[in-house]
Structures are given as structure tokens and as C-alpha cells.
Amino acid sequence: MVGLSFGAVAVASGAPLWLPVLLSVVVFAGASQFVFVALVTGGSSPLVAALTGTVLNARMVPLGMGVADVVPRTGWRRLLAAHLLTDESAAFTLPRRDPEERRAAFWLTGVLLFALWNLGVLVGAGLGGTVLASVDPSDLGLDAAFPAVLLALLVPAVRTRADRRTAVAGAVVAVAAVPVLPVGLPAVVAALGVLAGRARRRGGDGGAP
């Protein structure tokens, strides 16, 4: 479903038909793909869009550390396993204890998700290109779809009070940066919002030595 919407929204907002499909194969990380297309079709520099997507994908590092035992040591299998690392394949692997079960869960989720995600994007891009191509994207309200998608990805990630502070700080920093930074960069400096989530917690810890 997410893949389908990604393909459709991307093409309908002016991206070439092959772009969402190619992104899904070579990047294969939902939120960063949405962000790249949204920023690029919105007129921001492609490098800034890539940077923003990369910052979002920094979470792959702890995920990869968590499932390191299922990633083969060498060879093309190692590269393939790395490419199949996503929030989902990690989420299905992390809670399992048995090494054999962990490996099976990782590969099954990874391969299945890769297939479904790319199929969804392909179908979505086709729909976007045929059904929606003749209409003005702003008449369809498609410009609201990108932030709506990002919101749907953000909310489940906000679980603690520190997360909430981080999100609010990120939002405030980004809005404040809009008049002074090139288009697209404000979301990158929103990363500074992390400091808000941590600073307060560190203060709390310090208060009870």
C-alpha cells in the first residue's frame, strides 16, 4: 500500500515514470524515497534531497548492528543481506532468539518486502502515469499527500516524552530555518532537534546524582 501510494504520488507530482521504480530498487528505504522525490519535484537541489534522505537512513546503522549475526561474513550474500535490511526485516528478526529462526525471519521478510514493495511502486507509478497524468496535481491535493505520508511514518516512531520533545524541536528548527537556508536544507538542520530530546534527559539524570 505504501509502495503503491509512493509510485502514484511521485509520478502524479511530476517525476518521470521510471524514477520511483529505480529509487525503490536501488535505495529501497521508503521514507527517504518519499523525501527525495518530494524535495526534488518541489524544486530543491538534488544533493540536498539526497542528504536529507541519508540522514533519515542513519537509523540503518543501529538496526544493522542488531541483526549483524544473520548477515553472512563475506561475499555477495553479505551485500545482498545488507541491501535487504529495513525497519521491517529488522523488526521481525530482533525479537527472535534462535539463530536459525533469526536467519529465516530476516531473509523471508527481506525478500518478500523487496518483491512486494517494488511491485507496489511499479503498479502505483503506472496508475499515476495513466489515470492521474491528465490532471493538475494541485487540483487533486497531491501536494498534501507527501507531508501526510511523512506524518504517518513519524507518529508511530514517537513513543516517549523525549521523542515528542525531539519532534517538536525538529519542527521548530526547520520552520525557523526556511527563510535563511536554501530550499530543502531546513529539514536537515531539523536534526538538531535531537539535542532537545537528549539535553533535557541528561539534565534530569544530573539532578539525581
Binding site: 537541489s45 533519515l56 548492528m65 501536494d143 501526510a148 519542527a171 526547520a174 520552520v175 531539523a190
Partner: protein, 110 residues
């Protein structure tokens, strides 16, 4: 939109950087191991995604580049927010946001 060399570069940077980050996790785990250190890095990087996503949501909802985006789009995103909060399915959230914005524009709101 017109697709040029700098777009290819951007796409390449995103793809290569993402792949490198995916390889970095298992590589680090083999060298420094898991443990408490991984826990704190984990929290930091998860926080990074939260902050950047939040920044993207507001800037994409409120602005067109540097210009204000008008009212219809932010209101569509607010509707999406309510639906996400009520745990509506993903597709419903996206369609409701677009439909709200489209309807408000039809009614003449910028």
C-alpha cells in the same frame, strides 16, 4: 520536471550512502560488539529520524519552497494527523489528506 546530471548525482549519492549505512551496522558490530554503547547510539539515530521527519512534515505542509503554501494543504495535513492519531489505515490517511486539500481548493481556498 526536467531531469539533469545533478539529479543523477543526487540519486547516486542517496543510493550509495544508504547502502554504506546498511553495511556499517554489521561491520561495527563485528568490531565493537553490541552492548551499552550500541543502545545509546541507537537512541541518538532513532531521534535523528524523528527530528528530521518532523521538520519535513511541517516544512512540506506549510511552504512551497520559501513561499507560504496557503491554507488548503496544511488543513489537509491536519486531517491526516487526526486520522493517523486514530490509527486509520495508511491509504485512508493519504487519500483523506489529498481529498481535503482538493475539496478546499475547489471551494476557493488557496
Amino acid at each position: 520536471m526536467t531531469w539533469g546530471t545533478e539529479h543523477w548525482v543526487g540519486l547516486g549519492v542517496l543510493a550509495v550512502a544508504t547502502f554504506a549505512l546498511r553495511l556499517l551496522g554489521p561491520w561495527l558490530a563485528a568490531r565493537v560488539g553490541g552492548g551499552a554503547r550500541a543502545g545509546s547510539t541507537d537512541a541518538l539515530l532513532a531521534g535523528l529520524a524523528v527530528a528530521v521527519l518532523a521538520g519535513l512534515v511541517v516544512t512540506q505542509a506549510l511552504f512551497d519552497g520559501r513561499e507560504a503554501a496557503g491554507w488548503a494543504r496544511p488543513l489537509g495535513v491536519v486531517v491526516a494527523g487526526v486520522l493517523v492519531w486514530r490509527r486509520a489505515p495508511f491509504l485512508a490517511v493519504v487519500l483523506a489528506a489529498a481529498a481535503t486539500t482538493a475539496l478546499l481548493r475547489l471551494l476557493g481556498l488557496p
